[in-house]
Symmetry: C2
Subunit: 620 residues, 2 copies
């Protein structure tokens, strides 16, 4: 997106070097001509609206910051209503506002939970209220003492057959709900996950719609203690979100507020399994994690765009005969660190697209009662969520370091991008826990090799085990690595061999679960290798099919231009489209509140007495 304020493009020379069609690549990156147009329009809408200004947010203390977020969320909703935006447009608009807000959980978790787990009747009752934002909801699953182990949640929902109600209770301190976004100060309702108890018997963890705050005065309802859990990593960043703590003291809700699509509790307190397959839950997880992979490519591309442009602007060393110094992007050490990240941003984008196809495929099959591909699809999305988010978190920090000292300034945009991104490694499944899930399916596959059962999907390559276990790497000289078929085979052989080695070690244990725990570090390694293979294979496939061109250095700036990000969205002085970095860094510095006065607050009390040697007598 061309942002040329003053009209001078300091990166024009770089842009001229491009050896591919940038406009076509923009369409590719967006996904289609239509998607490109929507994204482009929404990004410009947000960028041109002063209410959505975000460059001051790292300087605000928490209350001001949060108030600003409420303002932006309301303004976004107002624009959505006024302009009668479609769901797609609204979602893009919220994305480009680029500020975590309670609305993310309302639209992204509360509504989908009701859609996925509520009966048709429940959906008819609650969804219209939620769609119109007459109620605002959040998703209250994790507790102070339990995150990954959902089955260990302590909150209880006890059926009272006399009153036909559930009693929601927090029996311990560690059972306090902890982390849910939007919970702290805003949500009126929550889907609360609790242990279902009937007549002293436990029936697993289920979701319940619980009203938290009065719709009249917004005060917490009786029996409910709720608040914000405090500051998180970074300035700005996720502190715009009211992640909350919530305790129930025997709060009663009507029986029909248990989400009963899969499991029903009757008036008499009987538990009835519905005919809806439980596997549907896995379908939803595939969906959510696919969006996380997609988000990884967007966060990574943002960081890479900043680091690439600044590397072309920044010059250091190498001046000869009084000429200009060398552009940092021309150093091999810089290229060696930066370009693989640039390639990965594209690779993750392609994997995200493919996962989207996978999700649709799985959904169609589920509707036809075909569950055969589900375990593999579930494992594959879990693994790719883990791989892409861990990689992206590290890569953002690497991009910050690639910007040298100036990357440490908030005005570079990278500190906030890192701080706001890293939770992706923990939420929706801790990345190590997810990799261990992948390892289970890999071990199962290896154990079934030779049984005649052919592995499917992304694990199909294991069917060629005999071949891959023996194959010799055909690489003789460096250039041989440029052959995609070679790269693919190497990744396949590596992944398979790591899995086979684990399986072999596992078979030494009489108790397989014990073995799994003991070997878990190696199993995680095997899972990572498998997931890397998936990324590599999807990337190679796409490059060979649809994307012509060669080489990176001359194309670097054009490749990040193709993301079509506005300067507003990038939020980085170093990543400016026009490359006019230094004057803008200088300008930005003076906006710090410390520069409001020449003599800083506290100077007269705490510095002057030192300079005047009055320390012994003055009270400090």
């Amino acid at each position: 997106m061309e942002d040329l304020e003053g009209g001078v493009d300091f990166l024009a020379d770089e842009r001229k070097k491009a050896k591919f069609d940038v406009e076509a690549m923009k369409i590719f990156w967006a996904g289609s001509q239509h998607k490109f147009q929507v994204a482009d329009r929404m990004a410009r809408l947000v960028a041109s609206d002063p209410v959505f200004k975000k460059d001051d947010r790292v300087r605000l203390e928490r209350k001001e910051l949060f108030k600003g977020t409420l303002r932006k969320a309301a303004h976004a909703w107002k624009r959505i209503v006024e302009l009668r935006l479609s769901e797609e447009e609204a979602s893009q608009l919220r994305f480009f506002v680029d500020e975590p807000a309670y609305t993310d959980l309302h639209w992204g978790m509360f509504i989908p939970a009701i859609k996925g787990q509520g009966t048709e009747e429940q959906q008819r009752k609650w969804l219209p209220l939620a769609y119109r934002m007459q109620i605002i909801g959040c998703y209250a699953q994790t507790e102070l003492g339990h995150g990954s182990n959902v089955q260990g949640l302590e909150t209880t929902a006890t059926f009272d057959s006399e009153t036909d109600e559930f009693v929601i209770n927090s029996p311990t301190l560690t059972s306090s709900k902890w982390w849910p976004g939007g919970l702290g100060k805003i949500s009126t309702h929550a889907v609360v996950y609790a242990r279902l108890m009937i007549d002293g018997k436990e029936h697993g963890v289920h979701g319940f719609i619980v009203q938290l705050r009065s719709l009249d005065d917004h005060l917490p309802l009786p029996g409910i203690t709720v608040g914000d859990i405090g500051m998180k990593f970074g300035s700005g960043a996720y502190n715009t979100m009211d992640n909350g703590v919530l305790q129930f003291d025997h709060v009663r809700i009507p029986r029909d507020q248990m989400l009963m699509r899969v499991l029903q509790v009757t008036r008499e307190g009987k538990v009835v399994q519905s005919d809806v397959p439980r596997q549907l839950i896995y379908g939803t997880m595939v969906y959510v994690r696919q969006t996380i992979v997609y988000d990884a490519s967007r966060a990574l591309s943002k960081a890479v765009c900043i680091a690439t442009r600044y590397s072309a602007v920044r010059r250091q060393f190498g001046s000869q005969n009084g000429g200009r110094e060398t552009q940092v992007i021309d150093y091999k050490t810089q290229q060696n660190r930066l370009f693989p990240l640039l390639a990965s941003a594209y690779a993750f984008r392609i994997v995200g697209d493919w996962l989207n196809w996978l999700y649709r495929d799985v959904t169609e099959r589920l509707q036809a009662n075909d569950f055969s591909t589900l375990p593999e699809a579930h494992a594959c999305t879990a693994g790719l969520k883990s791989l892409t988010t861990s990689f992206t978190a590290d890569a953002i920090e690497e991009c910050r370091k690639l910007c040298g000292g100036h990357g440490y300034l908030c005005s570079s945009g990278l500190p906030e991008l890192f701080a706001v991104y890293v939770p992706a490694c923990t939420y929706e499944g801790d990345n190590v826990v997810l990799l261990l899930q992948v390892a289970r399916i890999l071990m199962k596959t290896v154990s079934q090799l030779g049984s005649g059962k052919q592995p499917v999907g992304t694990i199909a390559y294991m069917g060629r085990a005999e071949n891959l276990m023996q194959s010799q790497c055909s690489v003789k000289k460096a250039e041989d690595w440029l052959n995609p078929a070679t790269v693919l085979e190497v990744f396949e052989a590596r992944s398979l061999r790591m899995s086979v080695a684990c399986a072999k070690n596992l078979s030494q244990f009489s108790n397989p679960e014990e073995g799994f725990l003991e070997l878990s570090a190696d199993l995680v390694g095997a899972s990572v290798a498998h997931c890397q293979l998936i990324v590599v294979s999807k990337f190679i496939e796409k490059l060979q099919q649809d994307i012509p061109g060669e080489g990176v250095r001359p194309n670097a700036i054009a490749l990040v231009d193709a993301f079509n990000y506005t300067d507003h969205f990038l939020g980085s002085v170093l990543g400016r489209y026009d490359g006019n970095v230094y004057p803008k860094l200088y300008e930005e510095a003076w906006k710090d509140p410390l520069n409001d006065s020449v003599i800083p607050d506290g100077f007269h009390e705490y510095v002057r007495p030192l300079l005047k040697r009055q320390v012994r007598t003055s009270r400090l």
Copy 2:
């Protein structure tokens, strides 16, 4: 340091498992009985003084935060004066206050620069003023356009023989001094690095003492533009420091304010080299970088202490028959990630000690005009600075992830620790640039193998090249890796072979400098391998000499207790000595300003209208 507020030690069982003498290890960690006592006393002094409270700093906006830092710095100085603390005690006290402040640069850079580069006369004039804090100084080297390339600095100091003055000037925007700590709002003086110009001829970059602000009213002197450069990574963290921007418009200073220990400018404008060896500068760099390695071990040990204690408190999964869940520290995946970091904290501590010895050795030799070990010592400290700081930055973030979701809360202490630590990868030499310096000496050494010249110091192992190039790894089974001699030989062989491979590729280039640039990524790899070998060898040496004991898991908590850190210094709810994590996390949450009121600021303007469906009519 035992912090048992309520008297209950939730980690008592863990502490009982220790298989070594924790008290003896505390002395080892501190360096000596004396050092332990000083550190222990100063840490308690700080921890018990309410002025040094720091748990609210992540919640403060910049001005308040900065004012608080000024207060702490003044209070520290007051206590130092009142208690007549020795230099060693004062430095420890400032360390345990644990808040970057302008005083760090005054004591750590301004004074050492005058000591190292000033003549005896200059030292007699300026040091007493600085020691009494009648002037406050900073170190103004880096510029907006130049960091690593010091020779590229643009600020000029032009000799005016008529007035016997230097004219300090910032000819371009990019020549603005940028980053110096303490410069933004506080320093009255600076050592300014500028290009010495006499009669139109340039004489390299030198240091000049320049007064910046009036000692009467603290206003910037004529010709000086100075301010703060704005927010940096994280909340709290380095935002307590007034990193500054500084421009000179032909500012005049007397000739005797050029630091002239090495190079003098006479009244007539003649440049005279003194008989003080220029190599002294390298001695100073060895010193500064040695302290950075030492700091790395402290930052890493802090993060590891938090993650280790919390991993023993946190339980997740693995509950059998209604029993308690498994301590997270008992999972192999956790151990596999955490324990190498714990070992590294100790290893870096040992390397820091050794570097301290190296510095003293080099200094003695310099005084005897023996420069023979200097290049190797210089390269070695540069490389170890790079290796330990990069590793520590990554390790702090890894420790944060090892604390799961709660590590993302500021109350875990880890976000601030990360944000405040990462600049160490950039300052005092960018880590990649430093590794390339190491590579130069490695390549030189390889090229001289067989010439009869024996490599010395940490490169001595290359003298056994013939042997190491051919040696076969003796490891047959996993246990063989427990043999220290094997580990050492493997690291030696690996490092040597990587260097030899680089040298071989380098020899293909007709222009060696071109080859060096082209192969720089591989050269960085060879340097890292060499530096890892140094760490491993010093660690093994020390373990075999002085530290008995075995195994880590039962000793884990005791090993982090041996750091003897107060809860104040750790600044982490997750890392509390008593392990009483959950109630304190809960307590901490309520302190957030957002919890000051039940209904948040902005609710009535920006949320209520949505809930009441007044969006179309209300002005947002």
